[in-house]
Symmetry: C2
Subunit: 603 residues, 2 copies
């Protein structure tokens, strides 16, 4: 992928009109499809590569390049093709997957509606079964039911996977997915379908988003993607999953690859941005001692503080996401969707997607500012990377909603542990957090401010774990008290929302630190010292951010917060000489980095 | 201004090519010039309005509309015309101001260079006086000296105020400003000048930024803007300010209106964005109790926490900036530039510009996310407002550099107070901070967590003041220790940079809180209750952010941090019913708000 994207056919072009940019991206997409990259995850029997890990690696690498191309690739091969593969059965695979993979059949993934983005369960598009004609009738009953934000819809899509409420014999069976044509092979709009261009956006203008309305469009019965729910010719509904709620979440769960992909691509965009800002910071000089040469701006503490913790955190996300990808691939290949490890992967994907995309947006903003006016020029790419990744905070699941899912999952596990094993379960649970308890009960530890202690991964992980456990326990108590006092569950959750978000964040960050430690231990010995410095900076900058909470809860006492702050400064200074190597190690070729300030300046 | 900007001639257009957008903005600018708005601050004798307060109000109101128009207006009438007015003398005013004000003479402000943005003193463009021809020779000696980011340069500018190192008789006299033609009246490039288009940017694409090179361009002696330094025909240099450093800072100081304007316009952009996000949040419903209607997303605590403290902070910036504008206008009209009150205005402008622009960027990002995909559509404006205001963090002074200026000013005052009056001075200084001292010495106050106390402006201001004073004292001590230990001043400052930034932030926020209290006291009685709630939310959200520091330094003890957090939640809930009124009170007409999600939905 890196070799390919370096070629001149993938060279960036700036200042294109939106129609020209869309065509450029579609041309790029054709190039990738022609080389079989889009079909990497589909079965070999349908022209695919049968390798989902490879598909994710392709997608991740695309993320260092143009984000419109990345998203368009994801829409066509991941969302559109992926949902046919995951939600459909043999008849759909045989008929469509080959053409999807070669881009002979460009398509859409039509889930979101104007009225319902996050709350998919309440979408209003209707799919009514007509047993006489043996067809489904797809209909947009009101304006809020129009399909919104549909990638590939404005220009290129011919077929759409449309999510709609299935009605059979007058009974609603919940959300199901249907294959609905939206354009004829000649490119005309399909009868009964209305398409509108979504128009200019704050970024990703190389993707042709659009809106769709269906006016009683008839499709054959076979166009229901029927893996998790089917309708017989006579109009009898069957499903391998009896519980409708579980069925719905299982269907959505097949889309977990999308969230992992978004997180990977966002972090790739960030790596490109950090490569540019760090290289520029190392050569750009401004101000200096009254007699003497101006100094590189990366020598300033404020500059280091804006970029180096972001670099360390990018490494942390990299390790966490790579770990998640391995687990996801193992779970997907063993066909264990729906089982407990797969559900844990789903929750981790939700949490990492939320934090990784927010980190990307914030760190690209810092990177832009660190490059001053140069960072604002399109050719230097950071401003566009930031504009393009902005939407990742809300698409494929709004981050705030995703973090609440994570927190709710933790609370459910917590409750189950209590209910299952009573006091013994709780003791075992707390016992597994020995270091955290130590920090709580031992004021000597809470007061230690020496470097050896603060740099110790045991101390750091203990503090992370304690924070998570304590937030979990107190969230459970707060919810319980409210519900005992008569508050309904929904209102109780709203009242504790900020607490739930803090809990989810603490959970994801604890997992990230564990993965960082694991990755360092399994790295080549020569790399461990610098990885340890990075891990320290990642962990300490989280502890610095959480100083208030840690002091409030006795994890820190006295001047420990001040000591952490001072050590963050020192850790930045220690990593300064490695800064350029650390971004070069992202391995992004100069042609993909693109920015003249990063390429010309650093060579 | 509001009435004008509502007219159809100022209607937004989306998806324009960059050339078309630039021409639209130039047409808009002509409309404003035709009605005398650009010349509002110039003397009446040159066709102006003689009213700088009016000019700032025009600029502030423009900020709610298109940011490219705002910046283009600022470049032409503020920077270009303003520097002729401020740095020039009668001969320049008489010859140019009328044509600048009518836009008969479009021009540029050519200060920044590729090699020097923040550090203006080290710019490299040369202006050598030739006593034989009685001309200056303007020259770009090397690539790093090219003028960079010059607004109006790529397309429309004819004359430029060029900052260059003045050399007279072989002696460097430091940075001075010169009027240099860059295009002929017919529109051709002036001989010896080279112009390059800066190309696509991350925002503000309606402004034609460009680069300038000068190849020994000769200009008459009279083209030196000679208010603070002049060269006689024979080549004798004179200046009313003997000290070259003071002269330089006095010249830069005349540009303080630019920083105030940037802060005003950025906050205006934010007000538009908040109007859109709050109105949308009040009507957009998503999720809800299992039986029952979905709830408006602004009823969610997380949503309130993202938007309402931002609204409260926007009010705080409004009061602080209005106070600053009054002081600036008074100082400017009394002709007291260079004196102590004017220098305080300069420092406050630097600090408020930095915090107001950062707040704008962060809050517009939150507003975008709060509107989900709708917030990403160009027609809903928030994404573009964010992209356009991004550069405000680094132009007219990089925010990090500006905050260091504020901190250095505070340290200088602090040192002077000590040196001047010894222990007595220090005591008087501390005496003026009685409430802060109380908080330090009285653990009962540090432990109080009752609402009445936490909502009390005396408590809030005391905590803000204590924080500022303590950061100031400790910064002074840290610097002193380092320098006594032999560290040079430059390195000592770098080592304490994060401390200086925290100090500057604490200082600006303390001033903001004071202005908020003052504004509330002088408001109509009926408005005071809601203003008090806003002030509480502003103050408490700052204290919440600084919980770590406050606990570390004993200002908070025990569960006070937790109590503040809980009260922020409560204050959000109290303001929720007023949220739409609070943004409607920004007074931005629907046609200027523009966004269909905010206009159609809320009416």
């Amino acid at each position: 992928m890196r070799k390919r994207l370096r070629e001149s056919r993938f060279a960036y072009r700036y200042g294109l009109s939106t129609p020209a940019y869309r065509e450029l991206v579609f041309d790029w997409l054709r190039e990738l499809a022609r080389e079989g990259l889009g079909a990497a995850a589909y079965p070999r029997s349908y022209g695919g590569g049968g390798n989902i890990a490879r598909f994710l690696a392709i997608f991740e690498t695309l993320g260092t390049h143009d984000q419109s191309l990345t998203v368009k690739f994801g829409v066509q091969f991941g969302l559109f093709g992926g949902s046919i593969y995951q939600l459909g059965t043999e008849r759909h695979h045989a008929r469509y997957l080959r053409d999807v993979g070669t881009l002979a059949l460009p398509g859409c993934f039509a889930m979101s509606e104007l009225g319902h983005g996050s709350n998919v369960r309440e979408i209003e598009t209707e799919a009514q079964y007509d047993p006489v004609a043996r067809e489904f009738v797809i209909d947009t009953p009101k304006e809020s039911a129009r399909k919104e934000w549909i990638g590939n819809a404005a220009c290129h899509g011919r077929l759409a996977v449309v999510f709609a409420q299935l009605a059979v014999g007058g009974e609603n069976r919940g959300v199901h997915a249907f294959l609905v044509p939206i354009r004829t092979p000649a490119g005309g709009v399909w009868p009964g379908v209305r398409i509108e261009d979504a128009g200019e956006k704050g970024g990703l203008n190389g993707v042709d988003n659009g809106r769709l309305w269906f006016d009683r469009v008839r499709i054959p019965r076979e166009n229901l993607l029927n893996r998790y729910g089917d309708v017989s010719p006579e109009g009898e509904y069957t499903s391998p999953i009896a519980n409708p709620a579980r069925r719905f979440f299982t269907m959505l769960g097949t889309l977990v690859a999308g969230r992992i992909s978004i997180a990977l691509a966002a972090q790739s965009a960030l790596k490109t941005g950090l490569t540019i800002a760090v290289r520029y910071g190392a050569v750009r000089r401004q101000f200096g001692p009254s007699e003497g040469r101006e100094v590189p701006i990366l020598d300033y503490l404020t500059h280091q503080r804006r970029l180096l913790p972001a670099v360390a955190t990018a490494y942390a996300f990299d390790f966490a996401l790579k770990g998640l990808v391995s687990r996801f691939v193992a779970a997907a290949e063993s066909g264990h969707e729906g089982e407990s490890e797969y559900r844990r992967v789903e929750a981790d994907a939700a949490g990492l997607k939320a934090l990784a995309t927010w980190h990307t947006i914030a760190a690209l903003q810092a990177a832009r500012e660190c490059c001053g006016g140069q960072g604002f020029l399109a050719v230097n790419r950071i401003a566009q990377l930031r504009a393009d990744t902005d939407i990742t905070a809300t698409f494929e699941g709004d981050n705030t909603v995703l973090l609440q899912l994570v927190a709710k999952g933790l609370l459910t596990d917590y409750r189950q542990q209590f209910h299952a094993a009573g006091a013994r379960g709780m003791l075992r649970y707390l016992g597994s957090r020995a270091s955290a308890r130590l920090a709580r009960v031992n004021p000597l530890v809470a007061r230690r401010t020496d470097e050896e202690h603060l740099r110790d991964p045991e101390f750091q992980l203990g503090a992370f774990r304690y924070r998570e456990d304590r937030l979990l326990g107190s969230a459970a108590r707060r919810l319980k008290h409210r519900m005992e006092a008569g508050t309904d569950g929904f209102s109780a959750l709203i009242e504790c929302q900020d607490h739930l978000l803090a809990l989810a964040r603490a959970h994801v960050e604890r997992r990230m630190l564990e993965e960082f430690i694991r990755a360092t231990e399994s790295a080549e010995p020569a790399l461990r010292p610098v990885l340890n410095r990075l891990r320290e900076l990642f962990a300490l900058s989280v502890l610095e951010r959480e100083e208030g909470w840690l002091l409030e809860h006795g994890v820190f006492e006295g001047s420990k917060g001040e000591a952490v702050r001072a050590l963050v400064n020192r850790a930045c200074g220690e990593l300064r000489p490695h800064a350029v190597s650390l971004v070069d190690a992202f391995g992004i070729p100069d042609e993909i980095v693109g920015a003249p300030i990063a390429v010309a300046a650093s060579r």
